[in-house]
Symmetry: C2
Subunit: 325 residues, 2 copies
């Protein structure tokens, strides 16, 4: 049995605070950047919380470390495992390396070589599976049963959600007054970051509207909240490769109960936003991180004259394949 | 006649301090970034002073503003002019826009459209010339004679050099002790940044070795210092398009009298260094800015175990044409 007393719980702000205390020494306090040029373009004041500068290049370091540091010593020694081909895999591998425990990642056989290399570089073991959800889960279960490793889900985990919430906590506490921001926007994939963000914002700035940004080609969260039922993400089509996953029961409930709105964004707006961020701000961000700015570009009237916080989720991508080329 | 009492002078540290006082409110104090991953690769501690985050995306904002703010009001109103197709053009245009004066830029007819647009966006007038040094200088002289505008040379100007020196001043003063760095490395083009850097370092950290980094395909400064004579930069071949210009008498003298060493760097090392910075640090830097890291990659034994400061000169480039593609 996996030790995890809060496995089925919904975290609250105290969980985020405790998570922050545990992980603080292992993560970066990432900078908040602004750009006069971008502000002029959108006629609003945007503050970017830059998790592309986070350890492993993405906010996922927070959630993975939060989960690892929640484990008592005897469970820690069993090692950790997950299925992921993305930033959570690197984050878990990084976290495990800090505590000198084993990390095993189930990855689809067709994962891009740079992602496989990145996970290996952090010292994790990789087990390849077929590129289907079924195969991933089956291989993971087999491995966990065999090895007794602790499964750390990429987002459907109380400690992971609380860890992701530390990003909004740092971000929101940096402004001179509560409710300084009119809007706080983050992308939605499986809903882990959005859940943590909503819990932090509800406590710290109840008047700030929290908005989810989702690619039109992967709009399962938008439809799920609209129809009050979880739609799985089937054949999503978007360059925002961090946002392909479906909501879980838990993230669905947190989002449904707290979110102000979900805006869906065309691919060309995501690409335009990503390019604007690279050109004007001189930072490397992955496509998923550009979806919030894409939402602002598509809804100028809604955001004109407002103060907006955006979580830049990460900066990991294949530099040989830029979407504007 | 152009007012400029120090036109033929070599600046000292007091000039850098005065320049800093004048321009401080118009420029960013750019961050100093480090990367554990990069440090592991080169087995040294590197500190990157990130002028890609400077106004107009390059350190050139410092020099241009230093020159503009040195002008008494009656000269300021005559407007400013220069010949440049690069970051100095944008910097002068930006500086002029802050003081509501005219800026006129002589640009080669074949300048890339993004550069022309960038200068226009800051409200400068452009006069196109033939793509030769002769035509540039002739057109500029004609314009200055006709308009009475003040010519601000990209680097052969006491105030410009003092302005560029404010970057090293900020950088060096941020360390806990003088001479904290074993090495300080900046690229050499016309020598304006390097001159200002040498003057600042001589005053603030006389034990730190200041090293120039230059592309092998544009090694005129290396040869000039070696042979104690100024070689013009003829048909330079490098992707580091900010480093194509020749030293002036003044920058030659400052560099000759103060520099520790000039290292020349192969094109492939520049590209490798640029890609490493993008991938590991998640920042957008132009090829010229990667030449110092290229020099470190080519000379591992020299730098192993040392503390190194690098000036990241800028982040302006055409995102459609990355050198590794």
């Amino acid at each position: 049995m996996v030790w995890n007393p809060k496995n089925n719980e919904i975290p609250d702000f105290t969980d985020i605070e405790q998570s922050f205390t545990r992980i603080q020494r292992y993560i970066h306090r990432t900078p908040i950047l602004t750009s006069t040029q971008l502000n002029n373009i959108v006629e609003a004041d945007i503050f970017f919380k830059c998790e592309n500068f986070q350890k492993v290049g993405a906010f996922k370091a927070r959630g993975a470390l939060s989960a690892i540091t929640s484990l008592p010593k005897r469970d820690l020694q069993r090692g950790v495992a997950t299925h992921s081909s993305g930033n959570h895999a690197q984050a878990l591998a990084y976290g495990a390396s800090l505590f000198n425990i084993s990390a095993t990642i189930i990855m689809p056989r067709n994962s891009p070589q740079p992602k496989v290399d990145a996970v290996r570089n952090y010292g994790a073991k990789i087990i390849f599976c077929e590129p289907t959800q079924e195969s991933r889960e089956k291989m993971l279960k087999e491995f966990v049963d065999r090895s007794n490793a602790v499964f750390i889900h990429p987002y459907d985990n109380c400690y992971v959600i609380a860890g992701q919430g530390t990003c909004a906590k740092e971000f929101l506490e940096s402004f001179e007054s509560p409710n300084y921001l009119d809007y706080l926007i983050a992308p939605i994939g499986g809903g882990g970051l959005m859940s943590g963000t909503l819990i932090a914002a509800k406590h710290l700035c109840p008047k700030t509207k929290v908005i989810g940004a989702e690619p039109k080609g992967a709009n399962d969260a938008y439809r799920s909240i609209r129809d009050n039922t979880i739609y799985p993400s089937i054949n999503p089509r978007t360059i925002a490769d961090g946002l392909l996953t479906s909501l879980s029961q838990r993230t669905f409930k947190i989002i449904k109960d707290n979110i102000s709105e979900i805006l869906t964004v065309e691919e060309e707006s995501i690409i335009q936003a990503m390019r604007l961020i690279w050109e004007r701000m001189k930072i490397v961000v992955e496509p998923s991180a550009a979806v919030p700015l894409g939402a602002i570009l598509e809804n100028p009237a809604m955001f004109k004259g407002t103060k907006i916080g955006i979580i830049i989720t990460g900066g990991n991508l294949d530099l040989n394949k830029l979407p504007w080329q």
